[in-house]
């Protein structure tokens, strides 16, 4: 990367996120210097003290690339998503939360009221004698104070604005980030808008070297600690639910390599309308029992099915949230 080239302007922003995505940018280690030599970081709340009003002052399209991580949980997240959309040439939904709603998206199995009740009144560590809950507006002596409003639903970035690309993962693998970054810097032709980048179109099974046979019939589900994993046989064939068959490859099947079943953070391959439903339907197909009671018994061992099948994708799924 030559010094003479005009540097790209790069922004990294976190919405409803755990911080892992921002850290994953640092996980490129010494390659960070390559990034900084090719790009100026103009906005990155975890590392730089740029204020929101500084971003507002930037001309539209000023930022070349924004890596937007985190889901949309409150008004602040949504406002920033829309602001950064306006200010960026390329807006990348970075990581599972921005891509699919991610782990915060599991909150759609409950409601805002239930969450507030739990957090501000019921939690074992909370003492709230005055029964206070946050309000978006508060008139103090010094003037009116504002807090972002908490939405009832968690949404993915694509549900509030139009990202150009999706870079999946919880967090995305740094190698894939570098690849994407280099491609943009080199001026290579970019994939069509709306593409998932830094991942494959096939699933984990395509890369995974565990031994796969046709014998996928499940008589009993096990949690990973309940079996003596031989490290060789496909997890599904050992009765351990692995999201690999329904999850894009691209991470280098790192969890499976570490002898843990895939959790599905890279999201569904193209053309899957509802990843959770798809995997549920797949699992239902291979349960080796015909008697309804027997089936129920087998399913009892499947811990937290909703959280397992929709671990990263509930907000973008067909069901989107719990209704009743």
């Amino acid at each position: 990367m030559e010094e003479t080239k005009p540097k790209l302007k790069l922004a990294v922003y976190w919405a409803a996120a755990c911080g892992g995505c921002c850290v994953s940018v640092l996980d490129v280690h010494e390659k960070l210097f390559d990034i900084i030599s090719a790009a100026d970081l103009v906005f990155w709340p975890i590392a730089l003290d740029t204020k929101y009003h500084d971003v507002e002052k930037m001309p539209d399209g000023y930022i070349d690339i924004t890596l937007f991580n985190g889901a949309i949980r409150n008004t602040e997240n949504e406002e920033m998503a829309k602001l950064l959309r306006k200010k960026s040439k390329i807006l990348v939904a970075y990581g599972s939360c921005a891509h699919l709603g991610g782990i915060p998206g599991l909150a759609n199995f409950t409601t805002k009221d239930e969450i507030f009740k739990r957090v501000y009144f019921e939690s074992e560590s909370v003492v709230n004698e005055k029964n206070l809950i946050p309000v978006p507006e508060y008139k103090a002596e010094e003037g009116t104070l504002f807090l972002p409003s908490f939405y009832n639903d968690v949404r993915a970035l694509s549900q509030v604005t139009e990202p150009d690309y999706y870079l999946p993962g919880c967090p995305p693998q740094s190698e894939r980030l570098l690849e994407v970054f280099k491609a943009i810097v080199s001026g290579a032709e970019l994939p069509p808008k709306g593409s998932v980048i830094g991942a494959e179109t096939k699933t984990q099974c395509d890369e995974c070297i565990r031994k796969k046979t046709e014998n996928k019939r499940i008589k009993k589900f096990y949690r990973p600690w309940e079996i003596k994993d031989d490290g060789i046989t496909c997890f599904m064939e050992q009765g351990v639910l692995c999201m690999g068959p329904a999850t894009r490859a691209g991470c280098g099947y790192r969890c499976i390599k570490g002898n843990a079943p895939c959790r599905g953070c890279y999201g569904p391959p193209p053309g899957v309308p509802d990843p959770g439903a798809k995997m549920m339907s797949a699992v239902a197909s291979i349960i080796d029992e015909k008697d309804p009671e027997g089936i129920n018994k087998i399913l009892e061992d499947l811990a937290d099915p909703a959280g397992t099948f929709y671990r990263f994708s509930l907000p973008v799924s067909l069901i989107r949230r719990k209704i009743l």
Partner: protein, 579 residues
């Protein structure tokens, strides 16, 4: 994307639909849906003028998608597909909305039924937009036929096919042809000799060069698909000798006529079968008749013979069905006993007399005139057989709670004949697995449609006939055997077989070889390509049932004509708010 030009037709089905659904309102609604060029209602869409209207409209208005809201697609999808073909449009650009069986027939409120019909039509419109032109494929039709089972059904079918010039491989497990019929003496109601019926068939088979008979043999594998099967026939004698003598044959179609076995009478403990020497089964009695000697175990001519009906049949404990042949066979016994031992007292202990077939009722009447004592017992209240005392002039006494008189009657008997019912053979499961057909809860093979497809199965090219399907008498068995043969002959005459375009396919760009689908296919159409590490569907075997489509966790398997997108569009159309 092409410009969509949709034609929508609402059928009144005479008054079947129109009396509940306001077809004009539905047509008006449809005409306002974007991309719908025209929407019409008509008295009978399936009639010639109805079809002609579609054909004309397609030609005149360049329609490229058709929705017909009428009856179930099971009824008339073929009719309308053919109309599209005639008009030069791919036949799969049609969608039917079922507003009869699923709407007008099951609703009584015209307003709500009309709203539902609109929703169903809207769903069909949404779906048809995503329909794709599909082409069916054709495969060669091998004229050779495999017939499994050498009883009356198998022999009849084999002769029918071979007489038309086709090679038939007739496989029989026993060392002789004839099946269960070879164990019977005379046949009801006309008292023809079973032996005569069989001898004629067997002689003809032995003289027919087109029929290759495999005795003491069974089929151990069937692979391929309609028109192109391969079967392995194993010689059972050589297996006993520790050798294998397998013959591999190429065939286009299979008829399974493996027959039945009789109910094991010892399962009904208090009839004492196996304990009381003179309680015998109907088949054991046939053996006596064939030998020409009716006698007790002690070698005496019986003075009293009792016949008990429904042994194993029409009971909740054993088989709930009627075995259909036993009533007439029992009457036949009465005739044969009376003619052999004129002064013998025959009592016939029955639940109901099932005399449904041709000539059966007359046969029943003539039997009652021949002084047979008929006693009726209540289902579940079985007669009880005791050993007679030393003073009695008979070997046994049967206690019957006679239903018509309401009295308990004791009947003397020297010989008791148990009319054992028919049941599925123990090896029916193995046969079903090999030829890939299904069994019902009683073990009988399942036909493709109980009324309209009585000899076809869900596996194309595999037919069933005779008592392996359900209990039946000889004429019905023969009729089924000939029906199956006729179905096959019609296909052979065509030389090629059209395979419906509605199969599923694996997208090799998406399949990651997780192998989850591999064992799910009920038609064994999925194979795993070891070199590519991907699954593959043999389209000729696939029926498009969608099991693998639902199971594929990566949407790599697409059900042609039933894609996720088409189904979701249909759901969205159905649930659309603005109707």
């Amino acid at each position: 994307m092409e410009n969509l030009r949709i034609g929508v037709y609402i059928c009144m089905c005479g008054t079947n639909i129109a009396k509940i659904v306001d077809v004009e309102a539905v047509a008006k609604f449809a005409s306002e849906v974007p991309e719908v060029v025209l929407a019409k209602s008509y008295k009978y869409m399936c009639s010639n003028p109805g079809q002609e209207m579609i054909i004309q409209d397609i030609k005149e208005n360049n329609l490229n998608r058709i929705v017909v809201a009428a009856c179930s697609p099971n009824m008339h999808e073929r009719t309308f597909r053919s109309a599209l073909r005639i008009a030069g449009l791919n036949q799969y650009l049609l969608e039917m909305a079922n507003i009869r069986e699923q709407c007008s027939w099951v609703h009584s409120d015209p307003v709500e039924a009309t709203e539902k019909a609109k929703a169903l039509v809207n769903a069909a419109i949404s779906r048809v937009k995503l329909h794709e032109e599909l082409e069916s494929v054709s495969a060669r039709m091998c004229p050779n036929v495999l017939v499994i089972g050498g009883g009356i059904a198998g022999m009849t079918a084999a002769l029918e096919l071979a007489d038309a010039g086709n090679t038939v491989y007739l496989v029989e497990k026993e060392n002789h042809l004839g099946g269960n019929l070879a164990r019977v003496d005379l046949t009801a109601p006309y008292l023809y000799s079973a032996r005569d019926l069989l001898t004629e068939r067997i002689t003809r088979i032995n003289n027919n060069k087109n029929i290759k008979v495999f005795l003491s043999s069974k089929v151990t594998s069937l692979t391929g698909y309609i028109g192109n099967f391969r079967a392995v026939i194993q010689n059972l004698v050589s297996i006993q000798e520790g050798k294998t003598r397998d013959t591999e044959v190429e065939i286009g179609n299979v008829i399974v006529c493996t027959g039945y076995k009789e109910f094991d009478a010892s399962r009904i403990v208090h009839y004492g079968y196996g304990k009381l020497p003179n309680v015998i089964t109907s088949f054991e009695f046939e053996k006596m008749l064939r030998a020409g000697r009716i006698e007790t175990k002690e070698g005496k001519t019986p003075k009293y013979v009792a016949i008990i009906h429904c042994v194993g049949s029409r009971s909740q404990e054993f088989h709930s069905y009627c075995s259909r042949v036993c009533c007439m066979t029992a009457l036949k016994y009465a005739h044969e006993i009376k003619s052999a031992i004129p002064d013998c007292y025959v009592s016939d202990i029955y639940i109901d007399m099932h005399a449904f077939g041709k000539g059966h009722e007359d046969f029943y009447r003539s039997s009652s005139q021949a002084k047979t004592l008929f006693l009726m017992y209540e289902k579940g209240d079985r007669p009880v057989i005791h050993k007679a005392g030393p003073k009695d002039d008979c070997g046994m006494l049967i206690e019957v709670n006679e239903k018509l008189s309401g009295e308990t009657i004791e009947i003397p008997a020297d010989l008791v004949i148990l009319m054992v019912g028919m049941e599925a053979r123990e090896d029916a499961y193995e046969v079903a697995r090999i030829v890939n057909i299904s069994q019902d809860k009683e073990g009988w093979f399942i036909e493709s449609h109980p009324k309209l497809e009585p000899v076809a199965t869900t596996t194309d090219g595999v037919f069933i006939a005779g008592t392996c399907v359900a209990p039946k008498d000889i004429p019905d068995t023969v009729a089924q055997a000939r029906a199956a043969a006729a179905r096959i002959l019609a296909r052979i005459a065509k030389e090629k077989i059209e395979i419906d375009a509605l199969y599923s396919e694996v997208n090799p760009n998406l399949c990651s070889g997780c192998r989850l689908c591999n064992l799910l296919c009920p038609y064994s159409a999925i194979e795993f390509l070891e070199d590519k590490k991907q699954s593959h569907i043999i389209s000729a075997l696939c029926k498009g049932c969608g099991v693998c489509v639902a199971a594929c966790p990566s949407s790599a398997i697409k059900g042609r004509h039933f894609t996720d997108q088409q189904i979701l569009a249909q759901v969205e159309g159905l649930l659309a708010e603005k109707l």
